[in-house]
């Protein structure tokens, strides 16, 4: 690639649109195909994402970060003993392992309105980067509502539905699961939040959950995610359910206030 790429490729004269989106637009072309640079960019990002899937979460570090915020936590392994098994057997990632059940037995007497679960999911980077900072905003809000909270449950090799078992154990009404989302090329560290009212293992289904996804530096901000979650919590307390029939009624002030000329195609 010693020759300037313009000599061997046809560039797209609309680079200016890249200011609006992280998507891979205006790549140009070699013939009708992606130029070498764009093609290798993609392969590089894929290599990073593939490697990221397999990096284990530092649970001790996470527990320490929460302790520094004044919050106790429990680290609970699921029945998926290793990463390979975890990827192929999602059923095991929804079940607490024997060690976890032992740990939970010691907490049997704790009363709870809400449980907060943090699971590594498919991106340990997402949890490492975003969970401590988000919890720093969320936990004071939950405490201000007067909710009784058990220790934060940190789940190793966990799937979303692991929250059901944990909410059931504490007889909690509200279940909030923070989980690492499957890494994308442009966002290896995207975090998702699943909220379930009256989550119970074997009873709750995906239709009973509300999902807030894409929480990362170029996605949904902590403040936006928090506003959505608090709205869902308050609404679910009113109507006594969650899921597809509980609509996210929050307005996105940032988008509403955009000047009309921002939508250049219709300006």
């Amino acid at each position: 690639m010693n020759t300037p790429e313009q000599v061997t490729t046809t560039p797209d004269p609309w680079h200016t649109l890249s200011q609006f989106t992280p998507a891979r637009i205006a790549l140009g072309r070699a013939g009708m195909s992606q130029p070498t640079r764009a093609s290798l960019d993609f392969q590089l990002a894929h290599a990073l994402a593939r490697d990221a899937v397999n990096i284990p979460l530092d649970f001790a570090g996470l527990a320490q970060a929460l302790a520094a915020q004044g919050h106790q936590s429990l680290t609970l392994p699921t029945q998926a003993d290793n990463q390979r098994l975890y990827l192929q057997r999602p059923d095991l990632g929804r079940l607490l392992g024997a060690a976890a059940q032992g740990i939970l037995q010691d907490t049997a007497t704790i009363k709870a309105d809400a449980v907060v679960v943090v699971a590594d999911g498919l991106s340990s980077k997402a949890i490492a980067h975003h969970a401590p900072a988000f919890l720093k905003l969320l936990l004071p809000e939950l405490c201000a509502k007067g909710y009784a909270l058990p220790p934060i449950c940190l789940v190793k090799h966990g799937r979303v539905a692991i929250g059901d078992a944990i909410a059931g154990h504490f007889a909690a009404r509200l279940c909030v699961v923070l989980i690492g989302e499957r890494p994308g090329l442009s966002s290896p560290d995207s975090m998702g939040i699943y909220f379930t009212y009256q989550a119970r293992a074997g009873v709750s289904t995906d239709a009973d959950r509300n999902c807030i996804s894409n929480i990362h530096d170029n996605g949904l901000s902590y403040a936006q995610a928090l506003a959505k979650l608090l709205y869902l919590i308050d609404e679910s307390e009113r109507v006594r359910f969650s899921g597809v029939n509980l609509k996210d009624g929050t307005t996105e002030a940032g988008l509403e206030n955009q000047p009309p000329e921002r939508c250049f195609l219709l300006g």
């Binding site: 649109l17 989106t21 009708m32 195909s33 936006q224 988008l255």
Partner: protein, 468 residues
């Protein structure tokens, strides 16, 4: 009944459901469900037994009980015995021979489609090789219309998928324009919204509607929100072209999606009433994918490919414009690697086409699957050779909202070059009129911004200069 003695071993497959699962080519989801064959020999033994099963048997032995599952009731009650008559005497093995023969022409395949059940086509697919799946699907022709004609011979359509991590309108519009300038978007311009929020959905629907009207693009829009959200949007008078919903092949799985047949019917009627299609009224867009039933813990003991075919019975009830198997999205616990993803994509296309559906394929994978771009190129090419109806167009093949890899605008242009595939005729006309494509459906050789979009981009550049 389902017994075979082979290689000095005796296999007794208890029932048709068990036999179908054991006969399935290997995939991780069936192992996860505990329904897969435990050895190669057991799998082939099951395929031998399955080949001798009369097609009629599928009308009397329901794989999920009629009383407990509305998808089964839809399949049985909706079966067209007249259409079935020409093949009613065949076994599964004979049916494969018939499909490969010259007797199975485009016309005869179209005629028998209402007489086929999902289980029949799933069964025959299990004893077919990839070249069989391609050959037979290629003979099927399914044509649908809204503002363009989808599915004509030697055509390939594309869904422009301009997703944005925060549903930002300018961000969406940037990807829309990039795609249009690469000749993409005749199947639909379809956005997956970040959250299922009526306000965000409505705003995106207005944006796409305004762009399509302003630039007179012969295509249709869709925001892939839950059907209940789209119903609310329609009730408020929002411009909805296509109603989207993810569907599955068992009642229990559809329950977990928060849908049932009556709800889909309500949405279908509401969309028909809007009469927004200019040349046709196919106004539904469905997505499916092997493994979604098991993922919802609702597979009813079926293998995932049979579940998937049953979802097509749900789809065909509502005469969709598009059906999309999102084959590699679900992850390695259902389709482990490139080999499993490729075969599943071609099976889904074959089964859907045989049942009379306009099948597209989201040729895709996730970063935790054992797959890469080479695997996708294999499926992409084979799917197009098989006469696939449409593929996705995602900027650079990287969906920055859903976090997976699909196909790029460039990928569609690759297929147009090597296979001579053209876009839908109305869209082709629009592309050529505005000098995006030349007469040979290639991108115009010397690149300048077409006059149609020049004012918008000039204004944007001016705006940026002023504020630089």
């Amino acid at each position: 009944m389902y017994t075979i003695r082979t290689a000095s071993l005796c296999y007794d497959f208890k029932n048709l459901r068990n036999l179908m699962a054991k006969a399935s080519p290997p995939r991780s989801g069936d192992y996860l469900a505990g329904v897969a064959a435990v050895s190669h020999l057991e799998r082939v033994a099951a395929q031998w037994v399955l080949a001798d099963v009369p097609l009629k048997q599928f009308l009397t032995e329901a794989l999920v009980p009629y009383e407990q599952d509305e998808v089964t009731r839809l399949i049985i009650d909706g079966h067209d015995r007249v259409a079935f008559a020409p093949i009613s005497h065949l076994t599964v093995g004979d049916f494969r021979n018939w499909l490969l023969s010259e007797r199975a022409s485009t016309e005869s395949l179209t005629a028998i489609a209402p007489g086929l059940t999902p289980e029949m086509v799933a069964a025959v697919s299990k004893i077919m090789r990839i070249q069989d799946l391609i050959l037979v699907a290629k003979k099927c022709r399914v044509i649908t219309r809204f503002r363009g004609t989808i599915g004509l011979a030697n055509r390939l359509s594309t869904r422009l998928q301009p997703n944005h991590p925060t549903d930002n309108p300018a961000g969406v519009a940037a990807s829309v324009l990039d795609g249009l300038l690469y000749g993409c978007g005749d199947a639909v311009i379809g956005i997956n919204p970040v959250s299922d929020n009526l306000q965000a959905t409505t705003r995106l629907l207005h944006l796409l509607n305004d762009v399509i009207e302003r630039y007179q693009i012969p295509t249709q829009s869709c925001v892939l929100a839950h059907v209940t959200t789209t119903l609310q949007a329609m009730a408020q008078g929002t411009p909805v072209d296509l109603v989207f919903q993810s569907i599955a092949g068992t009642q229990k799985a559809n329950d977990s999606f928060g849908i049932n047949l009556a709800l889909l019917q309500e949405a279908h009627l509401a969309a028909l009433e809007l009469k927004r299609g200019s040349i046709g009224d196919n106004c539904m867009y469905f997505e499916t994918g092997q493994g979604s039933e098991l993922s919802a813990n609702a597979h009813e003991g079926l293998d995932q490919q049979t579940c998937e075919a049953r979802a097509y019975a749900v789809a065909r009830q509502f005469k969709p414009l598009l059906v999309n198997t999102v084959v590699g999205f679900i992850g390695p616990e259902y389709l482990y690697d490139g080999k499993q993803i490729i075969r599943a994509g071609l099976e889904d296309h074959f089964c859907g086409k045989l049942l009379g559906l306009p099948m597209g394929c989201d040729v895709c994978y996730t970063n935790h699957a054992e797959a890469d771009q080479d695997d996708m190129d294999m499926l992409l090419t084979q799917f197009a050779v098989a006469g696939g109806t449409f593929i996705m167009g995602v900027p650079g093949a990287d969906d920055v909202m859903l976090n997976y890899q699909s196909t790029s605008f460039h990928d569609a242009l690759y297929l147009r070059q090597v296979l001579g595939l053209r876009p839908a005729p109305e869209f082709e006309q629009w592309l050529q009129t505005h000098q995006i494509f030349d007469a040979a459906n290639q991108l115009a050789a010397q690149r300048s911004i077409p006059a149609l979009f020049k004012p918008a981009l000039d204004k944007l550049n001016g705006y940026c200069d002023e504020h630089a």
